[in-house]
Symmetry: C2
Subunit: 339 residues, 2 copies
DNA sequence: ACAAAAAATTTAAACGGTTAACCTTACCGC
DNA sequence: GCGGTAAGGTTAACCGTTTAAATTTTTTGT
């Protein structure tokens, strides 16, 4: 049925070891004549080495696991898809496979530790929403991992992220410079630290500008378009009094929902209401109007995360790298001075 | 270091076989007392069974491979993401892992057969762009596979698709009923059969309506937003004479690019130009104006594809299922009678 | 021509599980 | 007392590779 090393060995009249050495281009000396014979037999018999058996011996499957709670919720998929793109490009360059795990929800616990430790991947990339308890378990086994976009207080955990506080401060300062003083914050899930850190940046910017922080201008919710839509409707359709002049959305998905809602409410953007997002997913450029947002280099973040992981796999221990990627304010047409 | 069955066996004073039977809840009789002792030891020693070793014995890795040329090009990712969602949900329900392969381009050949046959996955889902030569190779090994959205003439290959000809005919007939007689077709990659089949439907509809087919109204290109944008600019910015009154785009990505171009050219949709897409990716509902399109049940297609694959894996042979999923015309605001 | 060194190849023990086949006991009916 | 059967457990081969160590063959130096 399946062609194995043994079959090849028999066909060539050599031992399996020799075939294996040829297969791996091992530094061991194999006579060129023998090598040729073996290679010919491989072609002849249409041999495909078994990665599972190899993995068992070498304890390397050349596979990176990607774990995310989001996927594949269409609301946020451009965010995740872009990161995954970066991951996969780097993975493939390094001849690694990519194994995808998801929980379909930001709420669901990522408790399926067994599968993370069953040897099928050499390391894990957590994209958002890592649970500390899981980290703890994986640490005990020194399972290589990198937490993307979810900072960990543990100094031994490798993480990659942007400076959310500074970036949020910067974008809110930009709004303030445009003359806004009543700015609402549409948060992401409060279980995610990114959302809290962006809130912190928002507060810092307000404080620096001498604008009092108002509880009522923080609209909690999730990082998705429907949530942005609903929150905007809810807070704006009633009274006009106390209405903000600008919306700072914790993610572009939220902002896109907000834009839809504003359109429906007949509130014009940016003349009557300014809107800013965060991430610069590809949909942000083609929204109406095009969205001013804080760009994260999502693709690079994915690539770099994969590199960090590979580094740890090679070192076979946790290295506790803390990588901070740059952000960039992308000015489009969704912000104007308040009327 | 790593806890193995042997360690457990030693700890409990039983043989590895017994431990294995307990682990697998085997029908073999194991004394409840022994079972308890073993289970306790598993917890105690924090044992995690090694999936790779298991895979080697059982020749089942409980892993589905997803192969796609697209991924993760942001232009088309909503299409692929949605299918992948369907796949993953079904995979996880059946306790299967999902392994992702990509080639990043519709042009690149999917020649890496070795990796498909190295035992790390039990079956393959090809999403778009299967190369016949690859199929041929995989057939020889009876590697279970399902081709999504890429019909194969081989009756033994399982495929899942929509009736592209009928669906294209339907949407073009709809345009004709609105009064359009000059309808351009913005194709997808001509290497993809879906694009050719949609062209066929377009021709049939024209013929049925007694409208002559014009070579010059078929604008070739790829299934992505930039391509839709560029083609629209190119064909419309020059002369107004001979201009179509409606654009039939082979995919929503193309249509979204066309909408952007029309906006830039100052051509109003739908009053001056009607636009229809195909697929109904989630972005289609929030384009400006919202896009009239032919919905494919992408999520269901993914789910069903996974089911077909699992069925074949169980049967351990090719079943040659040909599944056709329904389409549905979604009328939004991008079509109006020609002025 | 012969020992020593270098090259080519083989042997055999892993890697961490599964599972068919076999071995003990213990219990049952007659 | 004896054959039969079922429960509980063990032995050992096997899955398809890798790789250190041993062995054989060839080459080289003198």
């Amino acid at each position: 049925m399946r062609v194995t090393l043994r079959d090849l060995a028999k066909a060539c009249g050599v031992s399996v070891a020799t075939v294996s050495y040829v297969l791996n281009n091992s530094p061991r000396h194999v006579h060129p004549r023998t090598r040729e014979r073996v290679l010919a037999a491989m072609r002849e018999l249409d041999y495909h080495p078994n990665a599972v058996a190899r993995g068992l011996c070498s304890k390397r499957m050349n596979t990176l696991g990607v774990v995310t709670p989001y996927w594949p919720a269409p609301e946020v998929d451009l965010y995740f898809a872009t990161i995954l793109h970066g991951i996969m490009v780097t993975a493939q360059q390094n001849r690694q496979c990519t194994l995808l795990f998801t929980h379909g929800s930001l709420e669901a616990p990522m408790d399926e530790v067994p599968i993370y430790l069953d040897g099928r991947c050499d390391g894990l990339l957590f994209v958002g929403g890592v649970v500390d308890r899981v980290i703890e378990t994986l640490k005990r086994k020194q399972m290589p991992l990198v937490a993307v976009h979810e900072p960990s207080s543990d100094t031994e955990v490798s993480t990659i992220d942007v400076d959310n506080v500074a970036a949020a401060r910067e974008i809110v300062e930009y709004l303030v410079r445009q003359g806004h003083r009543r700015i609402a914050y549409l948060s992401g899930e409060t279980t995610l630290r990114s959302s809290l850190q962006r809130l912190e940046g928002y507060r810092q910017a307000l404080e620096a500008a001498g604008i009092p922080y108002e509880e009522g201008l923080v609209w909690p919710g999730g990082y998705n378009t429907p949530s942005g839509y609903l929150r905007t409707i809810e807070h704006l359709h009633k009274n006009r009094r106390g209405r903000p002049t600008a919306l700072f959305c914790a993610g572009d998905g939220i902002a896109i929902g907000a834009l839809e809602a504003l359109h429906e409410l007949g509130i014009r953007v940016p003349t009557e209401m300014s809107v800013v997002g965060f991430d610069d997913i590809s949909a942000a450029a083609s929204s109406h109007p095009p969205l001013t947002t804080m760009r994260q280099p999502l693709r690079d973040i994915g690539s770099r995360a994969a590199e960090l992981l590979l580094e740890q796999i090679k070192a076979s221990r946790w290295l506790g790298r803390k990588e901070v990627m740059p952000t960039e304010l992308i000015v489009r047409d969704s912000v104007a001075p308040p009327s």
